[in-house]
Structure formats: structure tokens, C-alpha cells
């Protein structure tokens, strides 16, 4: 954080280039909402930003317990940023449990805002504090602002008719938001308008919240606890219209866009599962786009219905997370052999098994590659940021429809719930991915028959003839099919041919995707950091840090995990060392090593959280220093 100070209206105003703020409180305290509103204010102000919600486990834990703590972190700046920030500048802790679970992330000397009213003996006990940390000196090294948030809120709401004390108290998150908005000079009109909209049916509640919000703002002005306020200038961003967007929302919009671009209606067959459910929720709102959403009885029926719809000419989509991918795997294999377009969106979460449903991880890559019986290859696409989920969805739809293949889209919990400003695309930026169905018989023998497996010589794709097309009646199925005609075939040679044709079709996509780009400003780096999926932000941020420290590092990012871009091997071989940071135990690393025989160094962590830029900076510097940072799979196991 770079600072420049000034003194205005009694309080010092510091100009800083970026701020990380974290709200933490009980699940019932509305922290996600608070964070989202702060985000909206910040976005409309024109800062660049990146957010990281941190939910407790799916189920609501008892109020006041550490398990019930919900957090929201926001990083905003006057320049473009890539991650939600490593460590907060200010932590807002609504109760002792929130303090306890978050304080370890707050660097000493930074601001800590606590709701003093919540530090009751009962709450302290629930949080596991024997002594009140506000009194025992343990927080001495922080700039502690002890604000009686609850009582100030109740006081501020005061005599709003029809609002009882409990409801008044609930507005305390708006008080906190007001205070923080003041502290960082956020525009506040939007929040007022938003509260009015949200509580349109109960204007008295809107009123109470607005009062609390304003009181919080005013409190900052008047209290002595805050002697400094901070300004973060708008970021210089490319011109255009922006909105803030989360990954799941962007993915949903991407699917709708893909539907418009291909001319195929979206058919989503899905079964709810964290962190994918929001895509189902979002898509179900857009029926006027011809989007059909079908909440199935389970994951198998979800993909089954999507596949049935794909047979009928829809853009079949199914959304899920790892455990659901397991259940869908047999049907994915069917889709591979049927050679029908289908999108399988896997919003990865912590595994194995039920694992850590609300935490992020990238450990389904090899499952996506190999989690089916037999040789059943398919393309895999991974978005790199929340807004990139939009583009990745369109790209996945392009590949699926052009090559008549299921495609796995690998997002993750962090991308799904994290958000960032998104420069909205204009219509002319969309790719042309219109789809054509087969309408004519095609048998090479001129018999007038339709051969469903006669491939396009260019792409290897088979014709897509949808029911309703006269003369093209045909049957397809999961048994091996004769090359060309598509009849059942038990011939050994035909099976060999078909297996290789299916593989070649997918491998051939390598020539239809952009080459792997390398960010190596001076072209002098010896270490290449290779990332995929949601590690993009922290890897890129770490590379910047390394460079601003005067060192060289190259950064490349894989958007297509299968097949790899055609130039991947060539790129890798240009560097002395290849470092692959992943939120798993080295899955991309293993694919890269097998394919290119490059002794890639894997930096792998599974903590359910995105990497921090500082952490990766260290890892890169270690690699540059020739000290190997991670473990390499080539080392022999010694136990």
C-alpha cells in the first residue's frame, strides 16, 4: 500500500493505491451482503477490485461459534489488480468468534474494528476466549477501534414505526458498512437506493437500515478513534461499460450468450450442489431466453436429460461439483461415444468425497481427464478469473458444438463466488459459432442412407441430425459403432479405428485454439511459471512482484487443459525451469511431465483457499535461486 497524506476537515486523508478490507461476523450478521454492498460502492467509484467470500460450512452453526463465522474480503485499488489480496488492512469483526478466526490474518499495526457490544461473557465463551482479548493486551499491536455497534445501531434506528428491537439490531451490518464507507470515502447514494429497493415491501425496514448506515457514516466523522481516512483513486481502466460479476453469474451469462450465438436453446439438467447451485438458480430466471432448467432427481438424471436434449438439438448443459462428476461419469462416457455436444461444468470444491464443500480446490483435473471407463477423451477448458467464466463458457460451447463432443468446464469455488469488475463485451466481439444440423442423406455409396458417423474431414466431427428431420432417421448407442455408417460393430479393427478417430478428433483441437502465450517482458527469464484456472490471479500478481523486485520470470497460463495448445512443448523447452503452482497435489504437473518429459516443479497446496501472491513470489524466487521449492514427483518416495 503506497500512501500519500493530506489533512482535510480535521481528519487526515491519506491517498493509498490499494486497500484490502475484510468483514467477518456470524452467519446471521449479513456479512456477505455487507461485503457485496461495499463492493458495489467501490465498483461504481471506479476502482479495480477483486473479492473473496469465505463461507462457513454449508450448515448454519450456532450463533457466536467459530464454525459459524462468515467472511468477505475485498481488495480495491487505483490500478489493475489480480487477487482479493493477501492480508487485510482493516478487519471488521462483529463478534469474538469472528475476531478469533480472523485475527491471525491481520498484520500487526493494521486497523481492527470490533463490535464492542458483542464481547459479552457468553460470546467470549462460545468463541473459546477465557479472557476478553479487548482487555488483556493481546491486541496491543493493532490499531483497535472498539465500536459499540449494536447499541449505536439501536439508538440510531430509534423510533422507526413498526421496527422492533431485534429488527433494529439486525441493521448493525449497515452501521458497519456506513463506517467503512466513510473511512474509505465510498459513494453512498447507491446503497441508500439499493436498500429502498430491497425492502420495497417493508419501507420501515429500509428506513431502519438507512438510518443505521448513515449513523455509521456520521460516527466516523465524530469519533476520535479514527484520525485518518483513506482515499483510493479510481483505477485507469480500459474505456467501456463495466459491472461487477461473480464467476457463477458470468458462467450463466456465458451459457446464455453461447445459446444466442449457436442458435441452440440452453437446456440445463442439474441437481443442486455447493458451489454450483447458483448457476441453476441464475439460469432458471432467464426463461424468456428460451432457457429450460430442469432440477433433476440426481446428477445422473441431470446429465441424462441434458444429453437427451442435446440429441434433440439443444445446447445441453449440466452443472455440478466433484461428487456429482463421479455420478455423471458413465453418462459422460456415453456422450463421448455418441459424439453429441454437451457441457459439463464442474465447479470444483475441496475433496475427496464430501470434503470441504464451501472451500476451493483444483483437484478434479485428472478426474476430468480420465474419470471414465475406456479411452474416452474430451476437451477441458478452465476459466482464469470470475469474469472469464463468461468467455470460457462460450469457448466450451464452441468446441462442443463444432466437434460434437462433451466438454468439461473446470471452474472452482473461488471463481464461482469471487467477483471482479468486468468490461462488458460488445456484440461484435462475440465469436461466430453458429451451428448447422444435417439435413441431407450422406451415404458415400449414394444409397440415400444417412450415415451418422461419417466425419467431417477437417474437424473429425460427425453430422448432427436432430429428430424431426425427414429421411435422416437413425439410431445411436453406447456399443461400438462402425466407422462411417454407425451400425453396431464388434470388429477388432473397427474398434481400433474408432478409438483412434475419437482421440484424433480431440487432439486435433490443438490447432483450433490460440497458442500458449508467454508473458516474459524482457525475454530473459529462465524460470517459467505455468498456471491454469483460478491460480491465474495470484501467479500473475506474484510475477509482477518478482519483476518489481528486479528479477525475471516468465508466466504462461493454460486455458485449455486438453488438448494443450500446439506450441506448449516448444514453450516449455525454452525455459530452464518450469514451476507449476496448483491447488491439488500436482495434477497438471503430472500431465505436463508425461506429455513433454519436462521436469516440472510442482508447488502444490490444498488448503481450500486461493494462493497468496506473496507466497508464490517466494516460491518463484526460490526457483530462480535454484533452490527447489516444491517437491517434484520424480523424487523417489522414501518412507
Amino acid at each position: 500500500m503506497t500512501e500519500v497524506s493530506a489533512q482535510v476537515s480535521g481528519k487526515e486523508v491519506r491517498q493509498v493505491d490499494r486497500v484490502v478490507i475484510r468483514f467477518a461476523g456470524d452467519s446471521g450478521d449479513g456479512m456477505q451482503l455487507t461485503g457485496e454492498r461495499f463492493t458495489s460502492e467501490t465498483a461504481s467509484f471506479g476502482n479495480d477490485l477483486s473479492t473473496l467470500p469465505d463461507f462457513p460450512a454449508e450448515i448454519r452453526a450456532p450463533a457466536g461459534s467459530p464454525a459459524g463465522v462468515s467472511g468477505f474480503q475485498l481488495h480495491f485499488s487505483d490500478h489493475d489488480i489480480l487477487t482479493p489480496g493477501d492480508a487485510p488492512n482493516v478487519l471488521v469483526a462483529m463478534n469474538p468468534a469472528a475476531l478469533r478466526s480472523n485475527i491471525k490474518d491481520l498484520p500487526r499495526g493494521n486497523d481492527l474494528v470490533v463490535n464492542g457490544d458483542a464481547f459479552t461473557p457468553g460470546n467470549l465463551k462460545k468463541a473459546g476466549y477465557a479472557v476478553n482479548p479487548l482487555d488483556d493486551g493481546s491486541l496491543d499491536e493493532y490499531r483497535v477501534h472498539r465500536v459499540p455497534l449494536t447499541s449505536l445501531t439501536i439508538e440510531a434506528v430509534g423510533a422507526v414505526d413498526g421496527v422492533n428491537k431485534k429488527e433494529a439490531e439486525r441493521a448493525k451490518n449497515m452501521f458497519a458498512l456506513g463506517l467503512m464507507s466513510w473511512l474509505y470515502h465510498r459513494p453512498i447514494d447507491g446503497t441508500e437506493a439499493w436498500l429502498k429497493g430491497k425492502f420495497a415491501k417493508r419501507p420501515e425496514i429500509a428506513d431502519a437500515n438507512i438510518r443505521a448506515f448513515k449513523a455509521g457514516h456520521a460516527y466516523g466523522e465524530t469519533t476520535e478513534s479514527f484520525s485518518v481516512t483513506y482515499e483510493v483513486a479510481p483505477a485507469k481502466m480500459s474505456p467501456g461499460t463495466y459491472r461487477n460479476i461473480s464467476g457463477n453469474m458470468a458462467l450463466s451469462y456465458g451459457l446464455i450468450a453461447a445459446s444466442q450465438l449457436t442458435g441452440l436453446p440452453v437446456y440445463l439438467g442439474s441437481y443442486p450442489i455447493t458451489p454450483a447451485s447458483d448457476i441453476l438458480h441464475e439460469l432458471s430466471k432467464h426463461k424468456r431466453f428460451g432457457v429450460r432448467t430442469f432440477q433433476a432427481e440426481d446428477e445422473i438424471a441431470g446429465i441424462g436429460a441434458a444429453l437427451g436434449a442435446a440429441f434433440g438439438g439443444s445446447l445441453g448443459v449440466t452443472t455440478t461439483s466433484g461428487p456429482g462428476v463421479c455420478l455423471k461419469s458413465e453418462a459422460v462416457g456415453l456422450a463421448v461415444t455418441l459424439e453429441l455436444p454437451l457441457l459439463i461444468c464442474d465447479i470444483q470444491r475441496g475433496g475427496p468425497s464430501t470434503g470441504l464443500p464451501t472451500k476451493t480446490e483444483q483437484a478434479d483435473l485428472l478426474q476430468a481427464m480420465f474419470g471414465r471407463n475406456g479411452e474416452a477423451p474430451l476437451p477441458i477448458v478452465a476459466p482464469r478469473s470470475p469474469s472469464d467464466c463468461f468467455n470460457a463458457a462460450i469457448e466450451a460451447a464452441r468446441l462442443a458444438t463444432k466437434y460434437r463432443t462433451p466438454v468439461i468446464l473446470l471452474s472452482d469455488g473461488y471463481l464461482a463466488n469471487g467477483s471482479e469488475p468486468w468490461l462488458l463485451p460488445t456484440a461484435d466481439e462475440f465469436p461466430d459459432i453458429a451451428v448447422e444440423f444435417a439435413t441431407e442423406a450422406n451415404a458415400p455409396d449414394g444409397s440415400g442412407d444417412f450415415w451418422p458417423y461419417l466425419r467431417d474431414p477437417q474437424t473429425g466431427a460427425r453430422p448432427w441430425a436432430v429428430p424431426g428431420t425427414p429421411g435422416l432417421e437413425h439410431r445411436i448407442g453406447g456399443l461400438e459403432k462402425a466407422d462411417g455408417s454407425g451400425g453396431i460393430s464388434y470388429s477388432p479393427e473397427n474398434h481400433e479405428t474408432m478409438t483412434r478417430l475419437r482421440a484424433a478428433k480431440i487432439d486435433g483441437i490443438a490447432c483450433d485454439i490460440p497458442p500458449l502465450e508467454v508473458d516474459d517482458p524482457d525475454g530473459e527469464a529462465t524460470v517459467l511459471v505455468l498456471g491454469w484456472g483460478s491460480t491465474y490471479g495470484p501467479v500473475a500478481a506474484a510475477a509482477r512482484r518478482v519483476r518489481s523486485g528486479g528479477q525475471q520470470v516468465a508466466h504462461a497460463h493454460l486455458r485449455h487443459l486438453n488438448p494443450f495448445p500446439a506450441n506448449t512443448g516448444e514453450v516449455l523447452k525454452r525455459y530452464e525451469k518450469v514451476l507449476i503452482p496448483e491447488m491439488n497435489l500436482g495434477q497438471l504437473s503430472m500431465l505436463i511431465r508425461a506429455r513433454f518429459l519436462v521436469d516440472a516443479i510442482s508447488y502444490d497446496r490444498v488448503r481450500g483457499l486461493p494462493f497468496k501472491a506473496a507466497e508464490l513470489e517466494g516460491v518463484i524466487l526460490d526457483a530462480i535461486d535454484s533452490r527447489r521449492a516444491g517437491t517434484s514427483a520424480a523424487e523417489e518416495v522414501t518412507v
Binding site: 461504481s44 430442469f294 441424462g304 436429460a305 444429453l307 456415453l334
Partner: protein, 339 residues
């Protein structure tokens, strides 16, 4: 009510049975009951009057599930147990198609039981033909969820332990709107049941007793053979009294405990069959009848189909909010401009 099937394009000229023969070599054991069902269905399809390109057969895995290959329509031979789910996606996205599911007792009731009961409660516009041979044919003869208890098979050398499902009872318990039963070899009866099923909007489940002459031969002989069939089978006909037997001497009436029982045709209280009663209780009681096997349509009631309702929601949304505009969607919510 807007009948979805009316959306399916009608054939212009009368189609023939031959036009529904795909010409693919039929591969069932000689003597298998599946041949007769295939012939009956191919014979019935022209009567449906739907263009054959707008008809789709979807099956799972099993001997019975080879069916789609032999019918000159669109078809998919999918994976074990999943045909109802796949067909649901197709039927709910394509109101212009007539979608049929072909499945076996293992496919539909063992691995696929969940999809079946959910399709039934949703009332998706499907006609499901369940070939019940009370055995796993394709995998060479293990007992199935409809095999009688104590059945000795490869996997149960000392006899099977589980009480079989009664597919009709199960379907009625799962909110089915149309449930019927017929027999592979009785072409006229099967055709009449297919006709009723086809006319039903929503999910129609047709259980077809099918002989597997290799692994479970003669399972339905009582219902088929001249000497026994009249006493063993009760033909359900709407509006007709439930009487059966060689000389129509036997009937069905309600027992004091509320179940149904066989009585003399001349006894008071012989029931008149009415498949259209909204409450499925009597149809259910009929499925539990001891001493005689009812054949025909147990239940046939009107309820909006899932696909109709889904289409309505899309239409309503579009009517209210206008057709979707992608650029407007992207620009919805809080946006800001940078110059």
C-alpha cells in the same frame, strides 16, 4: 388444456408397417417374446399418424433395450437404467416429438427405479414400454426385481430372498397418471393398450409380460395358454364389470378390509372398472388382487404434463418480459462507464 401431442407433426400420407422397419438384423434368441412386441409396435405405429421422423425410441441396456435399432425412427440405445432421464430431456425440450422409452424389468426397476418413479410423478410426456420377463436376460439369467421370491438363478442358487416389486403398485404409489399391463403374445390386447397409452398426455407406463424362453421360459404361460388363460387373467375394460373365467363366472368385489377379492360373477358388489377415478386407491387395490391377474388399463387420468407446464412458463416469461436480449442482460444490474 393445450395438448402437447397435438404439436407433433402428423404424417401426411398413411404410413405402413414396413416403413417402420429399419432393416437392421433383429438379434434376439429365436422364440423370444421381444419379437412379438416389436411386430405389434411396428404394426401400431402407422396408426399413431405421426411422421416417423418425429418419433423417437430411447432405451437403456438389456435384451429389450435393443428395440430401437429395429424401428425406422430416431432412436438411442443409451446406458443402463437412464432412458427415462434422457427421454425427459428430449421430451421437455422438443414438444414436436413423440417420445417412447423401451426398458426391461432390470433396466427400469433395478438400476433405473429412481428415474422411473420420478418420470411418473412429473408426468413427462412419454410412453414407457416395460418388457417384464422377470429376469436379467442380457447378462444371462440373474433374478430381477420382479422375479418371484425363492427364484433359483445363477446368482441365487438357494433361491432369491427379496419380495418382488409389483410394477403397477409401484407406479401408482409414484403418482402415475397412466398405468397398464399387457402380454407380448396378445397382439390385439397389446395394441389396444398401446393406443390408450399413446392417447394419454403425460407419462404412460405399459408393463408388458414378455417371455424369455432362454432364462425364464413359461413365466406367463398361465395367462397365455388356452386352458388356463381365461381363469388366470382378468381383462379390465372401462365401464365393464370385472368378470372373468371360462364362462365369465367369476368376478371381483371389495372385501371388508378394503382390499379386493375374487368372488362369483353372480355375487353382489362386483365392481365396474373405471380407470379415470382421480383417487388411485381402487386401481392400487386392483394391483394387489390375489388369484387372478388383471390385464389392461388400471389408471388413466388427466393431469397437466411437466412439459406442458414448462413450455407455459417459458411462454409466460416471454410474454411478460419480452424475448431475451443478451446485451440488455449483460448490462443489467449496477454498471458504470469508464471513458
Amino acid at each position: 388444456m393445450n395438448r402437447l401431442l397435438d404439436l407433433v407433426p402428423k404424417a401426411e400420407a398413411k404410413q405402413t408397417r414396413k416403413e417402420f422397419n429399419s432393416g437392421v438384423d433383429v438379434r434376439w434368441c429365436p422364440g423370444c417374446g421381444d419379437y412379438a412386441i416389436l411386430a405389434t409396435v411396428q404394426g401400431f405405429l402407422p396408426e399413431v399418424g405421426v411422421k416417423r421422423e418425429n418419433i423417437v425410441f430411447i432405451s437403456g441396456i438389456g435384451c429389450s433395450s435393443r428395440f430401437p435399432y429395429y424401428v425406422e425412427t430416431y432412436g438411442m440405445h443409451s446406458i443402463h437404467g437412464r432412458a427415462p432421464a434422457i427421454a425427459t430431456g428430449l421430451a421437455t425440450s422438443r414438444p414436436d416429438l413423440s417420445v417412447w422409452v423401451v426398458t426391461g424389468d432390470g433396466d427400469a426397476l433395478s438400476i433405473g427405479g429412481n428415474h422411473l418413479i420420478h418420470a411418473l410423478r412429473r408426468n413427462v410426456n412419454l410412453t414407457i414400454l416395460l418388457f417384464n420377463n422377470q429376469i436379467y436376460g442380457l447378462t444371462k439369467g440373474q433374478y430381477s426385481p420382479t422375479s418371484e421370491q425363492g427364484k433359483i438363478t445363477k446368482s441365487t442358487p438357494m433361491g432369491s430372498l427379496d419380495r418382488p416389486f409389483n410394477p403397477v403398485s409401484l407406479a401408482l404409489g409414484a403418482e402415475a397418471t397412466f398405468v397398464a399391463r399387457s402380454i407380448d403374445s396378445d397382439r390385439a390386447h397389446l395394441t389396444s393398450v398401446l393406443r390408450a397409452a399413446n392417447e394419454h398426455a403425460g407419462t404412460a407406463l405399459v408393463e408388458i409380460y414378455q417371455n424369455c424362453n432362454i432364462f425364464n421360459d413359461g413365466a406367463f404361460d398361465l395367462l397365455k395358454e388356452k386352458g388356463t388363460r381365461d381363469d388366470a387373467g382378468l381383462r379390465l375394460e372401462a365401464g365393464q364389470p370385472m368378470v372373468f373365467g371360462a364362462d365369465s363366472t367369476r368376478g371381483v368385489r371389495r372385501r371388508a378390509d378394503g382390499g379386493l377379492e375374487v368372488c362369483n360373477a353372480s355375487d353382489p358388489g362386483v365392481l365396474i372398472h373405471d380407470p379415470t377415478i382421480d383417487d388411485p386407491s381402487t386401481a392400487f387395490a386392483l394391483s394387489r388382487l390375489n388369484g387372478v391377474t388383471p390385464i389392461g388399463v388400471f389408471r388413466d387420468v388427466d393431469r397437466p404434463s411437466y412439459d406442458e407446464l414448462m413450455n407455459e412458463q417459458l411462454a409466460t416469461a416471454t410474454a411478460k418480459q419480452g424475448e431475451g436480449d443478451i446485451m440488455a442482460l449483460l448490462h443489467s444490474g449496477d454498471t458504470w462507464d469508464v471513458e
